[in-house]
């Protein structure tokens, strides 16, 4: 047994090496290769039909993993997971490189929604939802931000009023990505106005498509309509769909937001492993951008290409390190915040670099220069 396995839980856990062998052969037989031009973060370019087809494809990929026994590597077996360790998920992350995988279901369905459910849900709640999530049947969203709230989620004004064994919800949530094609929402609501704001909140599970919930798609400045606002009017849900104690929603919320920050280092999600483990190094989008702009002969451009590639390597290495430090207890869970701070700094710089590399065609472009144009549009939403 390798040294790494020493830190796993006791019991008859499959050896990571044999897991790798089994997984490698299963992937080769069952999973399609990664699409040639993976659309990364530009879902706004899809038509609604393409988007819905992609969601269906995601569900299908997740179902394949489930049927192969590879969905939810570290989720408990009793809820449909594989019941394995972080090390196994790491192996999965390494082996999935080059294959298609259900990327859009990782966040926020697995992290933070399913993780919140695992930590705070009752046995019945977990049985009702975790297997469905792992089968790709339920895609979850966060009903967290509110129009008036800014970053102060504890100031939630969406109310849940008790009526016997039911709760009646009213209010509005905003910035839910893709609520229009999702199934369930994790919803933070105010259940008590008489106490300080952090002490009057509760968390509920909410079916998105039901009478009383109107989903409005917000148009972003880049034309994307991915984000939604929901108007919730007299929606009644059973008390069994409450997560955690009444008025104790902030306890759940604190962990929820921690999980949200941790997506880059979580083992509850699948992230194809970075360049280190990637035996054949990939090409660089910055190099391609410089080639498209015909500027590879310009040292200033070459400087930017190198900086972009370096920051990508730094980012991958940092997330791996911070993840490992938290997993091994060398760093407190606050370390997740560092990952976010760094990610913010780096992604900002990378957005600037991409825009620089796009040249004048990043401002006005012909059909031939659509790639540069999309960098210009992306730059407009740098902060988003």
């Amino acid at each position: 047994m390798s040294e790494a396995a020493v830190t796993t839980t006791e019991g008859d856990v499959e050896d990571v090496d044999s897991f790798r062998t089994r997984l490698r052969s299963w992937l080769a037989d069952n999973m399609p290769p990664a699409p040639a031009n993976a659309r990364i973060g530009v879902r706004g370019d899809m038509s609604d039909e393409e988007e819905l087809a992609d969601v269906a494809h995601t569900r299908d990929l997740q179902r394949r993993l489930f049927d192969g026994g590879f969905a939810g590597i570290i989720f408990p077996k009793e809820y449909g997971g594989a019941g394995l360790t972080n090390e196994h998920q790491q192996v999965f992350n390494e082996e999935i490189v080059g294959y298609d995988y259900p990327s859009r279901i990782q966040v926020p369905t697995f992290q933070p929604c399913a993780t919140v459910l695992l930590e705070f849900g009752t046995h019945e709640q977990k049985l009702a939802h975790i297997p469905a999530i792992l089968k790709g049947q339920e895609i979850w969203m966060q009903f967290l931000s509110e129009p008036s709230g800014g970053s102060d989620v504890a100031g939630a004004q969406t109310t849940a009023v008790r009526d016997g064994e039911e709760w009646v919800l009213n209010g509005s949530k905003i910035w839910t990505t893709g609520a229009w094609w999702s199934d369930w929402g994790l919803c933070l609501a105010r259940t008590n106005w008489e106490v300080p704001k952090h002490r009057g909140l509760s968390v509920f599970m909410l079916k998105i498509h039901q009478p009383g919930i109107e989903v409005h798609r917000i148009e972003m400045l880049n034309g994307s309509k991915e984000f939604c606002q929901e108007f919730i009017t007299d929606v009644r849900i059973p008390d069994r769909d409450r997560i955690g104690a009444v008025d104790d929603g902030w306890t759940v919320g604190t962990r929820w937001m921690f999980f949200e920050k941790s997506f880059g280092i979580s083992y509850h999600t699948t992230r194809p492993a970075g360049p280190r483990a990637n035996a054949t190094p990939g090409t660089s989008p910055y190099l391609r951008a410089a080639q498209r702009a015909g500027r590879l002969d310009d040292p200033v451009t070459r400087d930017l290409v190198g900086e972009g590639h370096a920051l990508g390597l730094v980012s991958a290495a940092a997330n791996a390190r911070i993840g490992k430090a938290i997993a091994t207890g060398k760093m407190s869970s606050q370390g997740a915040g560092l990952s976010k701070v760094l990610g913010g700094t780096i992604s900002l710089r990378l957005a600037n670099i991409s825009w620089e590399l796009a040249g004048a065609a990043g401002a006005a472009w012909t059909d031939d220069d659509a790639a540069q144009g999309s960098q210009g549009v992306a730059f407009l939403t740098r902060q988003a």
Partner: protein, 382 residues
């Protein structure tokens, strides 16, 4: 904030401001997103009546200034254009007007320039070319002599602001005798104008392709072979006007954001602590004032044609090309999610600032241009 306007200038600015608020309120810009032209002719010709196109034209040619410096007056219009993210070919038409007033033939003055002054003619400046010739000042469009002083022009210009809305283009081309400017009618045989995509909601850009366009000697603007120096002058004018426009857009961005942030703060829903707000706004105000200062300095130096005019416009361009987008992005970011929605006003200014950062040379182009200016000066001294 404008320093030391004369009362005539105050009146002039106020008239333009009211006109823009009335004719092109921000909501109208969103509605025109898919309009192929972005502005309509009556809007432009009424603006011309207000003086938008006459300030760089000499009095003899029917133009004139408010304050004695037409460029300083135009700078005030450009600032308001920025503050309103206003549509209309302010920079290209004024550049062409200046060129015709300075170097145009009597015929060109009587026809195209008069049309520009009344607003009946819209003119575009076709200087830049597509990659790999998209470096500042890189012109390859060929002008082949056809005898009798005529030329045949072949090549592509892009991006041409208001190229699809213009009646006439000022085209820089290479003749055997050096860089030369030509006036080319949009409907001349061999001219193909193709709309481009762009970031701005209200401004349009086009590719202008010239395929063996036959021109008479009368199409030449200025002297054959003199356009290298002439275009330096035009570039300085364009950059000075553009700098003021960017500063206007920055000014409005920050105004919106300060108002919004302190409102949220007083209503107890702050996105940031008071201390943090204060620090960030101090930074942004400093960038804005510095931007306004270097833009005004560019205007003054270009107007007076001082020895430091060239480096000052490039300093303005390279400073605003960095701090303009930074300020606008910071403003968006301080708004939280609402700032990146299409229905919000902020992105109209962000778009204007970002696109301006890319027209007439990049930040890197202008920094390196400054170095060349310094180097040439040094060499000249030795």
């Amino acid at each position: 904030m404008e320093l030391q306007l004369t009362s005539d200038q105050e009146f002039f600015v106020e008239t333009t401001r009211k006109y823009l608020e009335d004719k092109v309120p921000v909501q109208s810009l969103r509605e025109k997103r898919d309009d192929p032209d972005g502005f309509d002719r009556p809007y432009w010709s009424q603006g011309a009546e207000l003086g938008w196109t006459s300030l760089l034209v000499s009095e003899d040619d029917g133009g004139g200034s408010i304050s004695g410096s037409g460029l300083a007056d135009l700078a005030l219009v450009a600032f308001e254009f920025g503050r309103h993210a206003a549509p209309g070919p302010l920079i290209p038409t004024n550049v062409v007007a200046a060129a015709l007033s300075m170097w145009g033939s009597d015929e060109q003055k009587a026809k195209e320039l008069q049309g520009i002054l009344t607003g009946e003619v819209v003119a575009a400046w076709a200087l830049d070319e597509p990659r790999p010739h998209d470096r500042l000042g890189d012109v390859t469009l060929a002008a082949e002599p056809t005898g009798g002083g005529g030329f045949r022009l072949t090549g592509v210009k892009e991006p041409v602001e208001a190229g699809g809305q213009s009646d006439v283009f000022l085209v820089a081309a290479r003749t055997p005798d050096g860089l030369t400017n030509f006036l080319v009618a949009a409907d001349a045989p061999g001219v193909t104008v193709t709309p481009m995509h762009g970031l701005d909601l209200s401004r349009r850009f086009a590719q202008v392709a010239l395929d063996g366009v036959e021109l008479a000697a009368s199409a030449v603007v200025g002297q054959v072979g003199a356009a290298e120096a002439d275009n330096e002058r035009l570039l300085q004018l364009a950059l000075a006007i553009q700098a003021e426009e960017v500063v206007g857009a920055m000014d409005r961005c920050l105004e919106i954001t300060i108002e919004w942030s302190f409102n949220r703060y007083s209503f107890g829903r702050p996105l940031a602590s008071y201390q943090e707000l204060k620090h960030r706004f101090a930074d942004m105000k400093a960038w804005l004032e510095a931007g306004h200062a270097i833009a005004d300095s560019a205007v003054a130096n270009v107007a007076e044609q001082t020895p430091v005019a060239a480096e000052t416009v490039s300093a303005a361009k390279s400073f605003l090309g960095v701090y303009g987008p930074e300020l606008a992005h910071d403003c968006v970011q301080m708004h939280g999610g609402i700032g990146v929605t299409f229905d919000h006003d902020l992105h109209l200014y962000l778009r204007r600032i970002v696109i301006d950062a890319r027209l007439y040379g990049s930040v890197a182009d202008h920094r390196q241009r400054i170095t060349s200016i310094l180097e040439n000066r040094e060499t000249a001294r030795v």
